[in-house]
Symmetry: C2
Subunit: 305 residues, 2 copies
């Protein structure tokens, strides 16, 4: 008997990646679409239909897509996307089903990643798991009682929007002192440039360069990672008090900094939580990397059959 496969689409603000997936394994990859250069919605849909037709095998049983925004799985509608204009109230599930003939599941991208890390990755299917993705934005996904938790309006898990300083400056949503305002990639680069006092620009300070500098003993870079870890840790302390999970999974670009980031996060969790909450709490890096979105979308599509 052949294993079932599904096609997973990771629809990002910059690129759209498509893969044929079997369990957690990527069997084949479609060409990458540049989200903004691909034209409008219709062109993207046509391109996706072609890629899916090319990738599809006789075992392909379903199609899943993760998108960066509010995705209403009950109605099958994309309510809005965070950084991609023109995707408001789009009945995407029906449209993709019609274009491909496959059963379609649509999902928020951070939820798809969280599901992949829960089912196949770092979280090992523990009962209650919180996943955080650190990148340009800070996203999150929740697995509660062994199921993806989506909230009443399909908009739960926004850890990056949670505040760590209620007196801080408001972001574009009005939230004061949100975590993303401290540790979004651009913010980290700006903070670094400011700490270097004009000797470097934000463009000189991508996370990888800051990690290298810290590993080479640069005191400014070391202090910055310490601060970032404490800030992320403080947000996670709040999540743990509220949800008392088994496992925290940290992924995304700056998670590549490894111990520079994980050590101060872990120290903050230990210092700011009572032992009862901290002792059985695992803090682990994501293991599926940039494939998590497509793998999770495919797995959710199969699970929905």
């Amino acid at each position: 008997m052949m294993n079932r496969q599904a096609i997973g689409i990771d629809f990002g603000g910059t690129t759209i990646k498509t893969a044929l997936v079997e369990e957690s394994r990527i069997v084949a990859r479609g060409p990458i679409i540049a989200t903004r250069q691909a034209g409008g919605r219709e062109e993207i849909m046509r391109a996706l239909a072609e890629i899916v037709a090319d990738l599809r095998t006789p075992q392909t049983a379903a199609l899943g897509i993760g998108l960066p925004g509010i995705v209403d799985g009950a109605r099958g509608v994309v309510h809005e996307l965070s950084n991609v204009p023109g995707w408001n109230e789009v009945p995407l599930r029906g449209q993709l089903a019609e274009l491909t003939g496959l059963p379609v599941t649509i999902e928020n991208d951070a939820n798809a990643m969280a599901y992949a890390e829960w089912k196949f990755g770092a979280a090992g299917q523990q009962r209650n798991v919180v996943c955080v993705t650190l990148g340009t934005g800070v996203g999150g996904g929740l697995i509660l009682n062994g199921e993806l938790y989506r909230g009443s309006g399909w908009a739960a898990g926004e850890i990056g929007q949670m505040s760590i300083d209620f007196r801080g400056p408001p972001d574009h949503y009005g939230t004061r002192g949100s975590l993303e305002q401290f540790v979004g990639n651009h913010l980290i680069a700006e903070r670094a440039a400011a700490l270097y006092g004009g000797a470097k620009t934000p463009a000189d300070c991508p996370p990888a360069a800051l990690a290298l500098a810290a590993e080479n003993g640069d005191p400014i870079a070391r202090q910055l990672w310490q601060n970032i870890g404490e800030e992320i840790g403080a947000a996670l302390v709040n999540v743990v008090w509220l949800l008392n999970p088994d496992c925290l999974v940290i992924g995304g670009g700056i998670a590549q900094a490894g111990a520079l980031l994980f050590d101060p996060i872990s120290a903050t969790l230990q210092a700011r939580l009572p032992p009862y909450y901290a002792k059985n709490l695992r803090l682990v890096p994501a293991t599926l990397g940039t494939d998590a979105g497509a793998i999770g979308a495919a797995a959710l599509a199969l699970a929905a059959l």
Copy 2:
């Protein structure tokens, strides 16, 4: 056919209240036990067994008890109580079942209250509900996907321990700037006394007196309620970003301040959340008052049959 009844026990740090409950209605009440004056654990258990025997009717099908601490429902064990010494690792479910002959459910007290407000009270059985109880401490309970959410270690929902200022002073758990450090009853009284600059002591400033003063136009009291509302609102903004609930229920002593408290909470939610999260979110006062704990414990006991 007669309706089933259950006995609900609300075990608090100050008093232990027992009631015979049918649906949301209290049919009869047992004498109140003063927790600290009742002697040790054995005396309390004996007193409870007597009260239960007196209250019990032929329709009484179960016994539920809510306690202020970490209550492991799977093992039927009280792990520890917050302000009552001598209740560590107590196999309370089995002990009460033996003493009374009834099927017993044990639960965290804030969870029992949240369940009561969800099933019979302010929350109207909406799908995802967050309950906050404002008192000496600030407690919380979560109903997610229509079920009480307890977390991996039976310790979820601790909204009062969530931080609103990650640089704030550490509390006894090590958490910096937790909500309870801002709006616990004693803290409110101390803040008021400080604002009155020696003209009043904390003992002059219980919540009811501060509410009366504010209603009479006292500018210090008015400002204090504004600040308290903003602080509670900021914590709730975090909960909404994470859980995207339908309904927030606010109960406990200081919730009696009514609009003085609810207006700034509501304004903070509106100002700090995008309309998508705020527009379908209900903010409501608890409706079951001080009976919520016993009603919820009884209802959980019946639901577990």
